[in-house]
Each structure stands twice: as structure tokens, then as C-alpha cells.
Point group: D2
Chain length 339, copies 4
């Protein structure tokens, strides 16, 4: 059994990670950390885990975590991650980092969007971006995985086939992203109160959302060209899920059927990608690691729809996919029946 | 007191209309119709009206309605409306038609999008499109108002100033519209069940939604040019409200502040238009007749946001605005304090 | 015009109060206070008020408020209220206090449930409990109104007729109360986050909720006997509304019809009380000042249902009712059409 | 592999059943039926099953189903079930019937509550009531399991320990049950529309809900005495979950801690029962087969809280528990990790 730990166990991503890990046949959860005092049981922080795991959260040093773990999921906020990760790697652990700290390869871009100097810039080029459908060949041997953002995965998975095949213009791609509130995290703020969000739809961070450079970096890599997107995140009055409605400009006239065939080929053999005929909705992917994609032609305007669960395929599920690949396991292990 | 009636009183728009009319100082509700048997009290169909209005719904002929009414709100389905409206007009009533039957000026376009031959085509050119912020000068003297669709009003109000001033390209305007479920009406269908809609976001009728030609017709009229939009409606897990996020292409570089100034001038003196600095959300306009608009630049991509309550400013509130103008009243009467 | 002010203008009750006051024909809002710096416009705190009121919130002393006001709504937290209220009264203002500070007549009971010594105990006996359907005769001449709690009003209105007529046992009354999340206020806490509340129903404060002694005090007064309730509040995944399902023990066998007649007599002439045949639901009273009540016999067990909007009839609407009575106006003024 | 089929595959219980069965290591789904024409793929009826199961729904006779199946889940409406079940048993299948047709042992009681004469009355005494925590010893050898109702399971699991130990009075037990809307099924009706249910809490079927005799029958059997309950179901604006707040009268004074100990002993070794210290909520059990129970003393009034997912532990999850026991498997198989 591989010993796995979670740094920062009190948030929603840690909760979803634990729900998968307790069902996983090849790992055992060996340590959970929190800065809360008193070593609270994880089931007192997340009561839904009662009867599933009995571990206490401890205020451990990364050294202590390193001793107990073969692989660590780092669910700390950005900047806290780039402090902890080097120590974990030095302690011989492999790391899946769920923060944004190792996602951008250019420390200047990181500083520009996050407002902090990156303190571990050399690792930005060696960390592997943990989107298995794109970088599946590099993940098995990686020691440090930068687990993607939720909006990012949705947007990239929706656009990668079109960008790689040069079917759309690489600039001016409008992404209208619609997310449930759990994406805003578990820290109380006015903006994620029930009575503010319920019966409300709005947009936020137009032009300044930090998933923008991440989307552009990966798509530019996939297409070997400079990709530029207008990313527009919206909040929906629901808990789970992201739907991206994407409006690229086609280079040449093409039918929806042709494009669906491109997607089906691109994602052939990928167990979590479902190219569907109907328009995806978030409910069909909620509580799963699936990403559903379809396309429509609105007269001459192509519309690509992609839906996933922001906490699973957008965070903790893909983290387990990455872990599975790192451990030489089938990527479905613990999530989907196989064989 | 003006005697007003509602044809088709069982739906959500009739309910919202009645909530306003019972507070209105210058009208009295004189007849309500339904095809249900037994002359049910309106408060048994809409229990929230208990104590506000005691009228019974009757299975009346249009002739009977005409005798009892000075002005009729026609809340029938399309095709039923174009049967009733001519009779009501012949009976000497003025009519605000909330269906789609008199919105499109070209009977061929009507037939193309609604799949029915229009049986009253000559009136299509004399009916006045009831968007007071655009056609306010024609409404007072009109006998037949075609009350606009909910998505339509949101989209037109958001785009009219830009189109009129020639600030954006007139084609390829992407409208990503997000609506609450009440827009789907009160007739039970799988697609508007709670357990289907809750925690779900999806799109529908891409390329085929019937509000498309209506948006294009009015904007083409406003801009004196052929406007073409890609209209993409989405359903949100909420009851009330529409947010349109609109992605036009600017002709020339301009700042968000410049554009806000254009909007403020265009809508100066319009009591229900609020040009706001923050991004609008549906909750702020729910249960009101306001339409909130703002703009953002996402790098070089303009984004226009417009929010309104689909049942009020998108249907019944604007119907009362129209009625007020037809009766020579301040358009705020019954909805907003004034003077 | 009566000059009215609100102490503590940033919460949900202040918002609902303002929505009513801006429509009220006989008052003008003259001051709003907050401890936030910078004199923010009230529309920047509550964007839904844009275009309705343009006042700034100021960090005023109670003396300054007193100078500008004839009547003050005090929407401060408990303990803060009993500091401000004496000063406002000394300044010659009449006060409607929306906190709990003047609701309990016995300072010992206050200390027991709120954990603070009451610093203004003599006024506890002169403050009038602001439930117009019960204490309507005392309100017109009062200078200090203790505006009731939301659960309290629902429970009292549901039980008062039965208690007064001695139809039920006065002890062991089980109240199962179901409230929307807005009752928890606008201060961010883990327990009122969207992702915690959505798709969740739970109970809280069993045996310790502070509305308990308030319910018992008023019902004991109404029945001239010692009333004891088991009050059990629950949170529902919705914004607005309370439904109380109440299980009293009948002293003698009686039909539901008999009881409805008792309620109809008790509340005759009360414009905001609706005794209905159907089981009330929260949606029918949302955004109104109505309280809907009905009863059912479940075999031999009586069940009383009462529903109201916790922010309106449970807080700000009843506050305006109280104000209207204090000002010698029809209590419906600003809320319901009349005459 | 055991061949299992589902009669009536289009509803929510069938969907949840399939989600579990496709993950189950020892069964294969061999047939799905519907009365819809055209042999639709199950993934076109439930798009969330795309990629998980590819079977078509067929309009099969029970004979055809019998040939393909070792065990059949009957998810038909009541009365349809009692037609199909005898044929399935005759064909040599074992049956888990999710309808109400075999739950009541007395055909007279069935007729009284369901309004139909029971056409297979002799089997009412041989069918085993499928609540494994109560009748776990009888399930392994049963050929026909009457799978319990969702409210029923919640209520029985909450009360059985108290009834068996004679700790509470056996009559006048008030059950205030709060359910999500999915319990109302997938057939479109006005009462389960999003815009009717959202932001609404109400009660229904007071005194007439058909789960009442089922609760009383099982508890009477458990306690060997006549149990009588006042069952009061409410609808909550959420999709999944039931919370029952139960108000029994204690025979003797006892502490909450004593009672929790009673529950822990009663349910010792039951993997899906969680006796918790906190008040349960529906979110913690949603999408799981757990039932969470706790108790509180509200002064002298005992309150028992029990929460479960109405579609899983209240329907499809317990159906799989039953199937596991019938097949000699650990009851957790396919749902919880074990060994």
C-alpha cells in the first residue's frame, strides 16, 4: 500500500480527495494536516467522512509528513505550497500540488498574475502539468505534478483538439464559464454566503481571473502557437459543476458532426472523456470524474460545451488520476470499474 | 378606473401581472379567463393572491371579455393569441399581447420560426413593439402592443446604444444568455422539474431559439442596418432572472468608461434602466422592473452585461409600463414611487 | 413627512426596511449608519437599492441621529441596542428596536438566555412588544417598540388563538420551525455558506434557541397561564421564509373546521393575516407582509401550520406596521393597497 | 456473475440502482425495461450513465425478463408490481420489489390506504420486509423482498431501538419528515416543477400519507405492541435527502447520552448506521447509503434526528444491500470498501 498524505485537509478539495482515497484499493491515508489546534478528527471537520476514515488532523511539519508518506497531495493556498513542496521533494516524497504554484512555467507570468515573486522558480520547468489527457506520457515519471485549475481543465479539454488541428483561430476565443459556488472555497466571505448566491447569477474577475494564463500556456503548447482567450467566469446558484460555453472562430466551414469526430479521435481511449451528442449539463457529471463535451453550430458560430465537476475532474479526481499514473496503476483505479 | 382583463390567467406572467395590477391606483381588474372548468377563484390557482384579489377565472368568449374591458392583457400561447386579438380590437379594447404573435413584422419570418402561417398578417405592421425605452413615442397611441420576449428585451436593451452609435460590428454578436427556470412556464415537463434543473446548468435551442429573429429585427431597426446575432440560451438553477453576457466586436478601441457614458446618455430619464459600475446580477433586479447594465473590457474583448427579472421587466412589468403609456400615465405608476 | 433613520444599515433587515420605506408615502429616510469607514452610499452596500435611494451611510453618534430623526429603526445587534436606545429616546425620538434587547420583560430571563446583564432593565416593562395582531392597542402610544423575532412571530401568531381560548394544553407544545438561511444574517460564517447550506437540511440550537423565552412570555400573557414550548429550529436550503409546523395537544376533540373558525374570528380585520384552507407554504408569503395559517388533524393530533417571510413579516414589514400605528396611519400604508 | 434486471428503468430509483450496479463486482445488468417505444439506450434516458452502461431498454414481457435474469429489481408503480412479481417468481427469479405492493402484511390495510384490492394477498405474509438492520436474518433466504419506503426507513431506523426497549410511549409519536423533491418521482406534475418548489417549504398528505401504516406495522412488530404515529411529510427545496425530526414521549427520564448508547448497541456492526454526536444533516448522507442518527433533549422533550438519502439508503442502496444478503455477499459490496 502506498502511503499518501494531504497537506491542508479542511477544504472541499481535501474532502473530495478523501472520499476517493478511502475507496482506493492501493493506497492508505497516513497523515492529514491542519493549522487548527487540538488534532481534530477529520470526521469532525467533514462529518460526511464519519465511518469512512478515523484519522486526526495534525499540525505537522513537512518533515514529519515526509517521513510518513510516499506521496503527498498538497492542498495549501498558493505561496504556502511553494514553501512546502521543495521540502517534501527533498524528503523523498512525490507530490501532487493542487495549488497554482507550479502551474505556470514562467516565473514572470506567475508574478504578474499572482502578485508574488516565485521562490522556487527552477522547479517551474520540471513540474509536470497534471492533465492526463494532454500530458499523460510525462506524468508516470514525474515527482511533482501541478494539478490544474478547474476552469482551466474544462477550457483546455474543450479546446485542445481544435487548437491542435488548427481548426480555429488562436486568438479572440471567448470562454463563458459557469461555475458552482464550491469553487470559491470553504473560507467564509460575503460573496459565497447562501443568501447572496441563491437566486443569483453574476460574473466576476473579468479580464483578471488567474486561470487565464494557465489556459493560454497549455493551449499554446498544444497548438505550438500563441493562443489568446477572453475568459469570463460566472457564478451559478449551485454547489458543484462547471459548464464552459466556448465561442471560437472557425478557420474554415465545418459541420458539428465533423468536429465531434475530431474530438472522438483525440480522446479515444480516455476513460473519463465523454464526447456526447446532446448538450452537456453539469448535473450529469456531478460527483464523477467525467468531462462531457459536445459542439453546436449556431448558424456560422461554433459553440463548444464542456462540463465537469469542479471538485472532482476539476481538482481531486484528476489528482487521483495523476497519482494512479505516477504509481503505474490504471488511471481509473478507485474511481471507475475496469477490467 | 380603467377596466383591465387578462386572457389566460393561470401562468406565471399572469400572476406577476396581477401582483402589480392590484397595487395600481388607476385600474381595476374586471375579468380573468381560463379554460379550466368550474370558475375557480384566482386565489385557488395562485394562492399567493389570497387577500389581494377575489375574482373568479371564467371560460369567457373574447366578446364577453371585450364587453367588460377597456384594455386586455393577452397571456395566451402563440397562435391562440392571433385568434383572440382581432376580436378584442373589434370589440373596442386596446390590447397588450404577451405572446409572440405580433412581435415579428414579417409573416414569412414568423412562419419560418414558429412553424405556423400567420392568420392576421396585416396587423404585424401596425402592432407596436412594446419596448418603451426604444419605441416609447409610438406606444401611447397604439391599440395593439406586442409585448417583447424576456431574452429579447435583455439583449436589445444591452445592445441598442452600441448599435445605434455604430460602435460595434453588426454581425457575429455572441449572446450568452442565462435564465431562471420560470421562463419555461408553468406547464409540467420533464425539463422543468425541480430534480432535473436543480444543481444543473445547461444550454438549449442553440441556433433555433425563437427570440433570435426578434432581437435581430429590433436591433436592425435601431441601427438601420442588418444585425445578426448568435443567441445561446442557458438554464440556471434559479427561479427568476436573466443575465445576458454579450460579446460584440468593437469597431474601434474604446474604454469601458466611454461606453458607460454612451449608455447613460442613451437611457437618460428612463426610470427602469440602471447603468451601474459593478457587474449586474440577477438577484438585484429580481421582483423589480429594473434592467441593470454594465460593461467590461476583457483585454480587447468588450463584454456587455444586462440583467432583469424575466417575469417582470421581461414580461409583466414592461406590460404595465406599456399600459401606463397607453393610458397617458407616468410609466412608473404602480411600480415605482414618483413625484 | 416623518423623518426616519436606521441604525445599522448593512444587514438584510435594513435592506428590506429600506425597500418598503422608499415606497412609503408619509416618511422620508433621513439617516443611515454604519461603522464602515468612508461614508459609503447605501447602494454600494445594497446594489439592489440603486435608483431608489441615494443616501450615504455615516458613522454617526446616536445624538446626531437623534437630531435628524423623528423615529429610529434600531437594527443593531443585541447589547449594542440597549446602549443606543436610551440615548435615542432621550433625544426625543421614538424607537422601533429590531434587536432582542427589549423583548423580554424580565432582566433575569434576558441574562439567562443572552449571557449579559441588562443595562437598561427599567425600560423592559415599558417597552411594547411589537406584534400588532396581539398588542395593537398599546402600539400607537408607545415610544419604544420591541420588534419581535421571526420565529417568535410565526409561533405566537399560530398559537395565540388556541391558547387564549384554552383549546390546547399549555405545556409540551412541540414547534418544528423551518427557516431560510437569510435568518442567519449577513455576517460570513461557515454555517451560512452556500456550499454548506445548499442541498442540506438540519436542526440547530435545540433547547437553547433564544426565541424560546420570547414565545413563552407572550403566549403566557395571552393565555394568562404558564406556557411551555419545545422549540426546534431547522435550516432549509432557501433564502426567505419560515414555516412552523406545530404539534399541540388538544384539550378536547374538535374539528379542523372549528379551529379555522376560531382563527378567522381572532384575526378578523387583520389585513396581514390569511387563514387559508390549503397548507401554507413559504413561497406564497415570500416578499410580502402576510402570515398564512391553516390547521390539519392528523388522526387525533392537531397540526398548526404558519408561514411568513422572516425578513418582512418576521422583521422589517412588521416594523413598518408598528411605525404606521405609532404615526396614526393605517397599518397597511406602504405595503398594501387600501381604501 | 449474477444476472440482474430492472423492470421500469426510467425513474430516479432505477438510475441510482444502475450507478451502484455498474460498480458492483459480482453482478451484471442483463435487462432493462420500459414501455417507451424504440428500445432507447439507457444512456439516452439517463445521460449521466453514458460510458458506464450501454444497454437498451426494451418493452419485454416478464417472461422474457425472467429468462435473462437471476434476480429482478421491480421499480414499477404499485399495482403494476403485484401483476409482475408473481410471474417473475414463477419464472424462477428472486425479486426485490421497490414498489409498495408487498410491504403491508394485511391486504385490508393495503386496500384502505392504496384504494385497490390486493390481487396477490397470499404473498403478503411470505414477502420479507427489506430493512436489513431489522430483518437481516430473514433476507438471505427470501425470494421476494419488499423494499421499504424512504420515509419509512428513516422513521423506523430512528425509532426501533426506543420502541424495542420500551423507552417511549407507543402512541402519539410525532414525526416531522422533511424530504427533497426527488422523492416525488420523475413524472412531471405541477407540484414538482422547479418554479413551484424552489424557495418553498410546505407540508402535504397530512394524515393520509401511505408510509404511515408501513411505519406502524414494522414498529409494532419490533416492539410487540401497537405503535401509532402522527406522520407529517414536508417538501424541501432540494433534490436529495430526508431528515426526520421525531418527537416521542419518554416513559422515564433519561439523558441523551444514555439514549445514544442504546442506539450504538442496537446498531453495533451495522456498516451503514452512523450514530453521531452532532445533529445529522441531509448533505452528509447525500449520495451514500448511510443513515445518520442522533438525539437531543429539548428540556424534557426528546427529539430524535435521522437523515438518509431518499434515493439510496431510502430506495436503491438498501435494495442492493438486500440483494447482497440474498446472494450471500457482504452487504457493503459495491457500496463501501470492506476487508
Amino acid at each position: 500500500m502506498t502511503r499518501v498524505s494531504i497537506l491542508g485537509a479542511t477544504g472541499y478539495t481535501a474532502l473530495e480527495l478523501l472520499k476517493i482515497l478511502v475507496q482506493h484499493p492501493h493506497v492508505t491515508v497516513s497523515a492529514l494536516t491542519t493549522r487548527q489546534d487540538g488534532n481534530p478528527k477529520i470526521s469532525s471537520i467533514h462529518p460526511s467522512l464519519t465511518g469512512l476514515i478515523d484519522l486526526r488532523c495534525e499540525n505537522l511539519t513537512t518533515e514529519q509528513v515526509g517521513e510518513r508518506s510516499d506521496l503527498v497531495f498538497c492542498a495549501l493556498p498558493h505561496t504556502a505550497s511553494m514553501e512546502a513542496v521543495p521540502q517534501l521533494l527533498d524528503a523523498g516524497c512525490r507530490v501532487v500540488d493542487l495549488s497554482a504554484d507550479y502551474r505556470l512555467t514562467d516565473p514572470g507570468v506567475y508574478e504578474q498574475w499572482y502578485g508574488h515573486v516565485h521562490t522556487d522558480p527552477t522547479r517551474l520547468r520540471t513540474a509536470v502539468y497534471g492533465l492526463p489527457e494532454i500530458y499523460g506520457d510525462q506524468i508516470p515519471s514525474a515527482d511533482l505534478i501541478a494539478n490544474p485549475g478547474c476552469y482551466t481543465s474544462t477550457s483546455i479539454l474543450a479546446l485542445a483538439p481544435l487548437i491542435q488541428h488548427g481548426l480555429i483561430e488562436s486568438d479572440g476565443i471567448v470562454i463563458d464559464a459557469k461555475s458552482g459556488i464550491s469553487g470559491a472555497g470553504r473560507t467564509p466571505k460575503l460573496s459565497n454566503l447562501f443568501s447572496e448566491c441563491n437566486e443569483s447569477v453574476t460574473a466576476y474577475s473579468i479580464g483578471s481571473h488567474r486561470h487565464t494564463p494557465e489556459i493560454e500556456q497549455v493551449l499554446s503548447d498544444v497548438g505550438n502557437c500563441k493562443v489568446q482567450v477572453a475568459f469570463n467566469p460566472h457564478l451559478m446558484p449551485m454547489d458543484r459543476g462547471i459548464l464552459c460555453s466556448i465561442y471560437p472562430r472557425l478557420k474554415n466551414s465545418v459541420t458539428a458532426e465533423d468536429l465531434l469526430a475530431v474530438y472522438r479521435t483525440f480522446y479515444a481511449g480516455q476513460p473519463f472523456m465523454r464526447i456526447v451528442d446532446h448538450i452537456p449539463n453539469t448535473k450529469d457529471v456531478a460527483h464523477t470524474n467525467f468531462c462531457d463535451i459536445s459542439v453546436r453550430m449556431n448558424r456560422s458560430q461554433l459553440v463548444v460545451f464542456a462540463a465537469l465537476d469542479n471538485l472532482i475532474k476539476g481538482a481531486s479526481g484528476v489528482a487521483v488520476q495523476n497519482m494512479n499514473l505516477m504509481l503505474g496503476l490504471d488511471q481509473r483505479t478507485g474511481m471507475l470499474p475496469h477490467k
